[in-house]
C-alpha cells in the first residue's frame, strides 16, 4: 500500500501588503499594516512516497511560499501539513534530518573553499558517523561524476558543477524527501540533462520523494510522475501530465511538404480551417484547433487534396500549453 510522504490540507498563507506611496521620514515598520494579500488559498494535495511531484505555476503563484512552508521556513496562517509525519514549522529540526533542500539561487557551499572541504561541517550537522559518511560521500561523488572538481574552490566551479555539489550535500544523510527549488535555472542544456538524470537516479534507486518547483517544462516532462499547477494561490490542477495535456491541449501542429495539389478548393478550405504558422516554398506548418477538427480528420483532409511528403503531426508541448495557460489566467 502506498504511503503518503507529504499531506497538505487547506493551507492558507497571507503576507502583509507592501505599503505603497509616500511615507513619513520616521515611519516605523510595526505594527503591521492591516492589509494582507492571500498568497495561498486553501491548498490541499498529497505526494506518495517515492513519487516525483512537479509543482508549477506562473510567477507569484505561491510556489516558493509552499515549498518554504513544507520545509519549515514559514508558518502558515491555517491548514495542516505533514511531511514524513512531521509538522514542518513545529518540528523543524527533526524534519530537517529527513529532508534535503536545494535552492537554485543560493548555494550550500562556501565561496573560498572546495565542496570537499565543506563536507565535514555537514557531516557534523547531520550527525552522520564517520565511516558511513566517507562511504556515502565517495558513492555520491562517483554517481554524479564529480570527482574532477570536488576539490576545486567553489568560486572556480561552473554553475552546473556547483549545482551538482549542492545536490551531493543535500543527499549526504539519505533524506526521505528532496525539495528542489528551480534546480536547473541558469544551466546549459547538457547540464540540465545531467541534473535531471541524477535526480531520477536517486529517486529510482533510493525511493526518495522529490518535490520540484521549476519554470522549465522539460524538467517536468523528464521527471515528474505527477504535477500540481497553482495560480494566484489556488490549486488549478493535480494529476498526471497526460491528463493535463488532454484537458488543456488546444492545438496540434501539422507540417508537410506539398508535392502536388490535387484538389485546389479542398486545399484552400483546409487552409481556412487552420492557422498558418509558417510557409517556405512548398513546406507548410499549420496549427489547428483540436476541438474543431481532430488529428485524424486533419490528416485525411490533407491526403484527400494533396500529395505530400515529410508529413508530421505534433502535439503541443507541455511548455506551450503552460505558456498559454499562464496567459489565459
Amino acid at each position: 500500500m502506498a504511503i503518503d510522504s507529504i499531506i497538505v490540507q487547506n493551507l492558507e498563507k497571507s503576507f502583509p501588503k507592501k505599503q505603497q506611496g509616500k511615507k513619513a521620514p520616521f515611519r516605523l515598520q510595526f505594527p503591521q499594516p492591516k492589509e494582507r494579500s492571500r498568497v495561498l488559498k486553501d491548498i490541499s494535495f498529497s505526494v506518495r512516497q517515492g513519487e516525483i511531484l512537479g509543482y508549477i505555476g506562473p510567477n507569484g503563484a505561491g510556489k516558493s511560499t509552499t515549498i518554504k512552508i513544507l520545509t519549515g521556513i514559514l508558518t502558515p496562517d491555517s491548514g495542516s501539513v505533514s511531511v514524513e509525519g512531521f509538522v514542518p514549522w513545529k518540528q523543524r529540526m527533526e524534519l530537517a534530518k529527513k529532508i534535503g533542500v536545494v535552492f537554485g539561487q543560493k548555494t550550500l557551499l562556501w565561496w573560498d573553499l572546495s565542496p570537499k572541504d565543506i563536507m565535514p561541517l555537514y557531516r557534523e550537522i547531520y550527525e552522520i558517523p564517520e565511516k558511513a559518511f566517507s562511504k556515502r560521500f565517495e558513492e555520491l561523488v562517483e554517481r554524479f561524476g564529480a570527482k574532477e572538481f570536488i576539490s576545486t574552490p567553489t568560486r572556480k566551479l561552473s554553475l552546473g558543477e556547483r549545482m551538482r555539489c549542492d545536490l551531493i550535500v543535500a543527499l549526504l544523510h539519505k533524506p526521505k524527501v528532496l525539495f528542489l527549488d528551480e534546480p536547473t535555472i541558469g544551466l546549459d542544456a547538457i547540464a540540465k540533462e545531467q541534473m535531471r538524470s541524477f535526480v531520477k537516479k536517486i529517486n529510482r534507486e533510493e525511493k526518495t520523494t522529490v518535490f520540484l518547483t521549476t519554470h522549465d517544462m522539460n524538467d517536468i516532462e523528464a521527471l515528474a510522475d505527477k504535477i500540481i499547477v497553482v495560480d494566484k494561490g489556488s490549486k488549478i490542477f493535480e494529476g498526471k501530465i497526460e491528463e493535463f495535456k488532454k484537458k488543456h491541449v488546444k492545438e496540434a501542429v501539422m507540417s508537410f511538404e506539398i508535392l502536388q495539389v490535387i484538389d485546389k478548393s479542398a486545399f484552400k478550405s483546409l487552409l481556412s480551417k487552420t492557422r498558418q504558422l509558417s510557409q517556405e516554398g512548398n513546406y507548410y506548418e499549420l496549427a489547428f484547433s483540436i476541438e474543431r477538427m481532430d488529428a485524424q480528420e486533419a490528416a485525411s483532409r490533407l491526403f484527400k487534396c494533396c500529395k505530400t511528403s515529410s508529413f508530421q503531426i505534433k502535439e503541443q508541448t507541455l511548455e506551450e500549453i503552460i505558456r498559454e495557460f499562464y496567459e489565459l489566467h
Binding site: F15, Q29, K63, G72, R92, A96, K106, P120, L121, E124
Partner: protein
C-alpha cells in the same frame, strides 16, 4: 540541540576559516599592519589627553598599557566571533537564512559559523603589551590577570549576543545597514576609565551593556588598585547580564522567526 554538537560545529567552522585564511595569506599581514596602526592611534590619543590634563582620573601610562592589552584581546575576539552574530542580519535578507533553517542545527549558530573572521593581530599586540609591562617591572596580580581574561571572554559572549539581537531586529525593520553603526557605538564605551562616567550611567550600563567595565575593572585589579573580591562581584554581575542577554536573544529570535517573510515568495 546538544551543547557538544554546537561546540563541534563551531570547532569545524573555525578549522574551515583557518583554511580560508591560509588561502589569503595577505590578509594575515594586513591584519597585523592594521593592528599596529590601531595601537599607535590608541596610544597617541591617550598621550594627548594625558598631556592636556594633569592626571586623568588617576590613570597613567601603566593603566593604559594594561587596558590596551585587554582591549586587544577583546577586539580580536569580537572581530572573530561577535561581528558574525551581527552580520546575521545580512543572511536574513539575502535568503541565506532559508538554507540554515532547513538544516538540523540552530540557524543562528550556522550564521555565526559562516561569518567567523579569525583575527590574530589582537592577540599578538595584547601579549606584547603585557610582556612590555612585565619587562618594565610593572607588578601585575596573576589571579586578577586570569580573571580579567575571563571577564573579557564573558564580554565577548555578551557582545556576540548583542550583535545577534540587533540582527533579529531586522526581521521587523528590514535590511538595516545602520545596525553596524549601532553595534560599534555601544562598545566604544570600553577602554576608558569607568570612573569618568557618572554613577547613574555606570549602574545603567552595568546590567545592560557592561562595556565600560570589561576592561577597566580587570585593569584596576591587575594593578592591585581594587581587591580581587570586588572583581568577583563584577564577574557575577557580568554572568547575570550574559544570561539576561541569552533570554533576550531567544525571545527576539522566536518572535522574529514567526514574523519572517523570507522574501515574501
Amino acid at each position: 540541540m546538544s551543547f557538544t554538537k554546537s561546540a563541534r560545529i563551531l570547532a569545524i567552522g573555525l578549522m574551515l576559516h583557518w583554511k580560508r585564511l591560509l588561502e589569503y595569506r595577505l590578509n594575515l599581514a594586513f591584519d597585523l599592519l592594521l593592528r599596529l596602526v590601531d595601537s599607535v592611534t590608541f596610544f597617541m590619543f591617550w598621550a594627548v589627553i594625558l598631556a592636556s590634563s594633569n592626571g586623568f582620573a588617576g590613570w597613567g601610562l601603566k593603566e593604559f598599557l594594561i587596558v590596551f592589552a585587554l582591549e586587544s584581546y577583546f577586539t580580536a575576539l569580537v572581530i572573530s566571533f561577535a561581528y558574525a552574530g551581527l552580520y546575521m542580519y545580512e543572511r536574513i535578507h539575502n535568503a541565506e537564512l532559508d538554507s540554515f533553517l532547513t538544516k538540523p542545527a540552530q540557524p543562528w549558530l550556522l550564521a555565526i559559523v559562516k561569518g567567523i573572521e579569525p583575527s590574530f593581530a589582537g592577540f599578538i599586540s595584547g601579549t606584547a603589551a603585557l610582556a612590555l609591562a612585565f619587562t618594565q617591572g610593572i607588578s601585575m596580580q596573576p589571579l586578577a590577570l586570569l580573571l580579567g581574561l575571563f571577564m573579557v571572554l564573558l564580554g565577548v559572549a555578551i557582545t556576540a549576543l548583542f550583535g545577534l539581537s540587533l540582527a533579529t531586529l531586522s526581521f521587523w525593520l528590514g535590511r538595516m545597514d545602520s545596525l553596524e553603526s549601532v553595534f560599534e557605538s555601544f562598545w566604544s564605551f570600553g577602554g576608558k576609565p569607568a570612573s569618568i562616567f557618572p554613577i547613574g550611567l555606570q549602574v545603567l550600563t552595568a546590567f545592560t551593556f557592561p562595556f565600560i567595565f570589561i576592561q577597566t575593572i580587570p585593569t584596576m585589579a591587575i594593578l592591585d588598585k581594587i581587591p580581587v573580591q570586588e572583581m568577583l562581584l563584577f564577574i557575577l554581575a557580568e554572568f547575570i547580564v550574559l544570561i539576561a542577554w541569552i533570554f533576550a536573544f531567544k525571545f527576539l529570535w522566536k518572535k522574529g522567526l514567526r514574523n519572517y517573510e523570507s522574501g515574501g515568495g
